[in-house]
């Protein structure tokens, strides 16, 4: 029914992650985990899929001797999100 919608974004957790990044620009893994309340493993899988699609950039570093993963939205990801929202609106209000 919703074949035209971007399959990468049309998933609950991936959409949540991109929505967070649309608000913050970038966020670390813990922030995404706290906001989405999803399991770390599941978030990692979805982050990999978003990264493969070129929607996000992932930078792994260390902060105070602890691993720190920073995820940032790319311009491709931002454009895909905007297109996705416009497509959703067309489904809701077809004219």
């Amino acid at each position: 029914m919703f074949n035209d919608l971007d399959p990468i974004l049309h998933s609950q957790l991936r959409l949540s992650i991109v929505s967070i990044l649309m608000t913050t620009g970038e966020a670390n893994f813990s922030f995404i985990k706290d906001t989405t309340k999803a399991a770390a493993g599941n978030i990692s899988i979805q982050i990999n899929k978003l990264q493969e699609a070129g929607y996000i950039n992932v930078v792994k570093s260390f902060k105070n001797n602890y691993p720190n993963t920073t995820i940032a939205l790319t311009s491709k990801g931002r454009e895909a999100f905007e297109t996705y929202v416009n497509d959703l609106k067309k489904y809701i209000n077809p004219k």
């Binding site: 049309h10 998933s11 957790l13 949540s16 670390n28 906001t35 599941n42």
Partner: protein, 197 residues
Amino acid sequence: MDKNNLTPEESLLLISKTIEETKQRFQENGHILVLWGSITFLVFFLQYFFSLTGLYKKFDIIWTCILFPLGAIYTFVYVRGKEKKNNIPKTILGRIIGTMGWVVGMNIMILALVFKDHLGNAMAPIFLILFALQIIIVGVSIKFKPLIIGGILLNLIGFGTFLVHPKYYGFSLMLGSLVGFIIPGILLNIAKKKENV
């Protein structure tokens, strides 16, 4: 949590809910605004009080050198603590607001301590105008009308201060702290508490 058969309505609801939740974690509760308004009010009230008692010269620099740096240290510790506790990432907007706060604050400190004699009577109005710019930008950034209005009024008080006799500058600064910091800060605090109920 992963569902691929979302309806368009569910998707839009999820997007707006996530964005709202993310924004809430960044929201300031007005605490720092009330603190800075109170410090500014107290400093100028004490300066006025000491000028009446003839102790102005002795105490002027002490209050400026103690209370403002103490406020700066508290703000730094509070903001860092909040960021760590809530695991808040640095956003572009957050960086702009934070950097602007420190830059304006440091400039005011340098102007007050080093260039006091060069500025002469223009010091108080310039402080108010610098504070006003900061308040307006923060108000516009977080889309909070009382803060924008407070900032505009503070800006007008700043320009108005040029027109009054320097002996009333203390009153302008106290009025400015009340209108630009304390009242919008309290209103922001009330607004956040209502949102959290």
